[in-house]
């Protein structure tokens, strides 16, 4: 073990490399007048994994007020929705803690493990996103084995100016009214941006009058799903200073989200709780709130032969789930303060990373880095799910880019991670009384009254990857990568023990889990010629111990639950591919196809894994003329019949979407207007990955969306 560590340290020290998180800045230093396009191709050519660069145009065309639903238009990325407002990402069938989202170089840390927890990012504030599909843990740490979503900043404008925009968003399906205002200044070395956004949405409309939940038919009044309204209130500040070889930036943001839960899906079906309350915009119990505060800084200096950078960040994710006090223990009295606060998680995350890069000396480029993260999770509420814990992780990596020839680039790297988790025990006094009154014997009571035991675990492991990029005649780009990745088990996987609402499941952690390990093979081929482009990216993953919730067949002693689901390690296999194809039909008309397929298999249970995204494809026709653009899209989602135990198959659907963008010059200002019509035929369909799928609630119906954006700028002398 020690030899392994020394080896890793030697490698890192001798190579003294480092990867700067944001290749944009490197590009910038090398070449000030970098265009969006060249950055795009540069970042694609620098990685042996499939990379999608989502720029301003794409974000504008597919804007929904929800970043993940926008990114879903990239094949391989899927959105796991919680109602109509909030979502979390899934890449190639991996979600939750297997996908990392970073903003300004710091990994976003919330309660990603929860199926009804969304991502806390202001969609209005996103300018550039780099999506890496496949194992990225080498650069981004243990949770990035499925891929990363990297939210970055576009380079500041060259001229001194004051700029800003006002944007308005409206959606009919849930009565969204959203607005955002930004103001910025670029003055010599300084660049500052300030943005405030707010979104209010009401209960969303579904194309159904009833839903079937737990074999009972429940009415949906006015075709609106009661209490699914929500609000979002976001504040972002970003400032950058660049002088000569020094570059620094600071970002401060606070994201607040509040969303109601459909009360008919919270516990036992009960028609009295879903009666129309006459207000489609109120948020009653049960609901959740989350406040995400983030402060990050990036410092970078370019010496002649070395670029060094240092990132540091603090985040506080404060999540509360409120539900009218209820217990099935009989003896438990509501708490004095906040009697209806069911669960509270307060997570503080401190992160720091150092990165070094030695740019091309001959044909080699070295990168290396060191990052460290410390987390503290506090809990409160009358219910119990996840214990209080501290988590510390540290990682080191070295990466070598070797340009063998003009066409062939080889990339190899090694990383060592160490993690320590310290989980606090929790004894449930009410559970003991309940079990006594229910007549369980003393052995059982002693076993179950502890909702979580003290767990102190250390994890340490190597991960590595080797890949190549073969760039043939500019038209063909061929990539291949093999990676051995690993992931530290999350605190929920080690120590959760309780019922998460809506699921009826008693989810139980397993303190003896090992870190998850897997081999991941990726390939991709891209071809671009005049009037035609295509890409194909197949992948295969094999995990020796994939961690998932396994139904144990043991009845839980907790009231209102069936069997216990325990986090278990099994051999698992993933395979799939994304295919895109585009062709210019006529001068202004363009056809594009994007499809994806993911196959999952639990080799021990011989069943598929849960949350396997169904195959899907998008056929799009786009017509462009100057500042005018229209599209019509057929989005086909196949049925998902490959389900895990206790997961229901989901039928497929064909959805028709329309949309357009126009830029109107009015009085020196360029007003951008975007409209879209989603689910034109008001088709009733289900999203296999949605939180509400389990309770048979269909996806939102027909939606007309309007976005008006008025950008302005004023040159400064």
């Amino acid at each position: 073990m020690r030899a392994k560590i020394i080896l890793a340290m030697l490698l890192v020290v001798s190579v003294l490399s480092v990867y700067t998180q944001d290749s944009i800045k490197i590009v910038e230093l090398e070449n000030i007048t970098v265009t969006g396009l060249s950055f795009k191709s540069a970042s694609k050519r620098n990685s042996a994994l499939p990379v999608d660069v989502v720029g301003k145009e794409f974000l504008k065309e597919h804007f929904t007020g929800n970043l993940i639903q926008t990114l879903e238009h990239t094949p391989g990325v899927r959105s796991m929705d919680i109602g109509s407002g909030f979502s979390k990402p899934m890449i190639r069938g991996m979600g939750f803690n297997r996908v990392s989202v970073t903003e300004n170089g710091i990994k976003q840390e919330g309660q990603q493990w929860g199926s009804d927890h969304g991502l806390e990012i202001d969609a209005f504030n996103v300018e550039l996103v780099i999506i890496r599909k496949g194992p990225s843990s080498l650069l981004y740490g243990s949770d990035a084995m499925g891929g990363t979503i990297e939210i970055s900043q576009t380079p500041p404008p060259l001229d001194n100016q004051i700029f800003g925009d006002v944007a308005l968003l409206e959606k009919t399906v849930n009565g969204t009214l959203g607005g955002s205002m930004a103001l910025g200044i670029k003055k010599n070395a300084w660049y500052c941006k300030l943005r405030y956004s707010e979104q209010h949405f009401g209960d969303y409309r579904i194309p159904a009058d009833t839903i079937v939940y737990l074999t009972q038919r429940m009415p949906v009044h006015d075709r609106r799903l009661k209490n699914t309204a929500g609000i979002e209130r976001n504040f972002n500040f970003y400032t950058a200073y660049q002088k000569g070889r020094y570059l620094s930036n600071y970002a401060l943001s606070n994201i607040y989200q509040k969303v109601g839960f459909f009360p008919g899906a919270h516990g036992i079906p009960d028609a009295s709780r879903i009666q129309d309350d006459g207000d489609s915009r109120n948020i009653e119990l049960p609901y959740s709130t989350v406040n995400h505060f983030k402060l990050t800084s990036h410092q970078q200096y370019a010496w002649d032969k070395l670029i060094g950078s240092w990132d540091v960040g603090y985040q506080n994710n404060h999540r509360e789930e409120w539900s009218l006090f209820h217990t099935h223990y009989g003896m438990q009295l509501p708490p004095e303060d906040n009697p209806d606060k069911e669960l509270e998680f307060n997570l503080n995350t401190y992160s720091s990373s150092l990165k070094v890069m030695i740019p091309k000396s001959y044909s080699c480029e070295y990168r290396g880095g060191w990052d460290v993260q410390y987390q503290q999770n506090q809990i409160d509420g009358y219910s119990f799910l996840l214990p209080k814990y501290n988590r510390f992780t540290i990682g080191m990596f070295g990466l070598l880019n070797w340009k063998m020839s003009k066409q062939l680039l080889l990339i190899g790297g090694l990383r060592y991670d160490y993690g320590r988790v310290d989980i606090t025990q929790y004894k449930d006094p009410y559970l003991k009384e309940y079990l006594q009154s229910a007549g369980y014997d003393d052995n059982m009571i002693e076993k179950y009254e502890w909702r979580s035991y003290e767990v102190k675990r250390n994890f340490g492991d190597f991960s590595g990857s080797f890949g190549m990029v073969w760039n043939l005649k500019d038209q063909h780009l061929l990539k291949a990568n093999i990676g051995n990745s690993f992931r530290l088990p999350g605190a929920n996987e080690l120590a959760a023990n309780g019922v998460h609402h809506g699921t009826f499941r008693h989810e139980q952690g397993n303190p003896t889990l090992n870190s998850e390990r897997g081999w991941q093979l990726d390939a991709s081929y891209q071809h671009e010629s005049k009037g035609m482009r295509m890409s194909l990216s197949p992948f295969i993953n094999w995990f020796s111990n994939y961690i998932y919730l396994k139904p144990t067949g043991e009845w839980s002693v907790l009231p209102h639950t069936g069997q216990i689901y325990r986090y278990t390690e099994n051999k698992a296999f993933f395979a799939g591919a994304e295919l895109t194809f585009g062709v210019d039909l006529f001068a202004r008309l363009d056809y594009s196809f994007a499809g994806e397929y993911v196959y999952t298999y639990n080799l021990d249970e011989r069943t598929p894994l849960s949350f396997s995204p169904p195959p899907s494809m998008r056929n799009t026709l786009t017509w462009r003329k100057d500042e005018l653009q229209f599209f019509v899209e057929l989005h086909s989602i196949a049925s998902q019949k490959r389900v895990a135990k206790n997961e229901d198959p989901t039928m497929g659907a064909h959805l028709i979407n329309l949309g357009g963008n126009i830029t109107l010059p009015i009085d020196k200002m360029m007003i951008e207007i975007g409209f879209s019509l989603q689910n034109l035929s008001d088709t009733k369909y289900y999203n296999h990955l949605s939180f509400y799928r389990k309770v048979e609630i269909p996806e939102p119906g027909r939606n007309l969306q309007l976005l008006i954006k008025i950008p302005f700028k004023n040159k400064l002398k």
């Binding site: 509501p334 139904p551 209102h560």
Partner: protein, 161 residues
């Protein structure tokens, strides 16, 4: 140089295509849930408090492979989900006790009919609305459950449902 480049590329691609072919998992495990057909008590049934004979419980279970176990849970549902506060109230009055029932039975085979009177509601049970839930698992861990709204009462006429 050029040939070595090509050779490397071809080797790598060969490894990839081989691995794509070599992974072909075999037949699938059981993901089919057992089926619960609860005949009695029916939705909205009124059950008699203090009936020594016990609740007439009649159910058919079936599974495509092998049944494992079923569990019956009855708990109070006074005033929607606010009943925890009335629990506290009920406790202070000491007159009646909220009825709660929790028991599991093992079963085998693909089909089974269950008929028993093991659920006995004691004389001191608080009358009112209750939930009855039945959970059933098969040998592979597939689970289904159903929920019924029932009423516990001292006066019971013939079943109206």
């Amino acid at each position: 140089m050029k040939t070595s480049v090509k050779f490397t590329v071809i080797c790598l691609m060969a490894i990839f295509s081989l691995s794509f072919i070599s992974c072909n998992p075999d037949d699938e495990g059981d993901t089919v849930k057992p089926v619960i057909n609860l005949l009695e008590p029916a939705e909205g049934d009124i059950l008699k408090i203090g009936d020594d004979h016990g609740v007439h419980f009649d159910m058919e279970l079936s599974d495509n492979v092998m049944l494992k176990s079923y569990k019956v849970n009855i708990h109070s549902n006074f005033d929607g989900h606010k009943h925890a506060r009335s629990h506290a109230h009920a406790r202070s009055s000491e007159a009646t006790v909220n009825f709660s029932f929790n028991k599991s039975w093992d079963v085998t085979g693909k089909n089974t009919s269950i008929h028993h009177h093991e659920i006995v509601i004691p004389e001191n049970a608080t009358p009112g609305n209750y939930h009855l839930m039945v959970y059933c698992t098969d040998a592979a861990g597939n689970e289904s459950h159903i929920a019924r709204n029932i009423v516990l009462s001292h006066e019971v006429e013939e079943h109206t449902h």
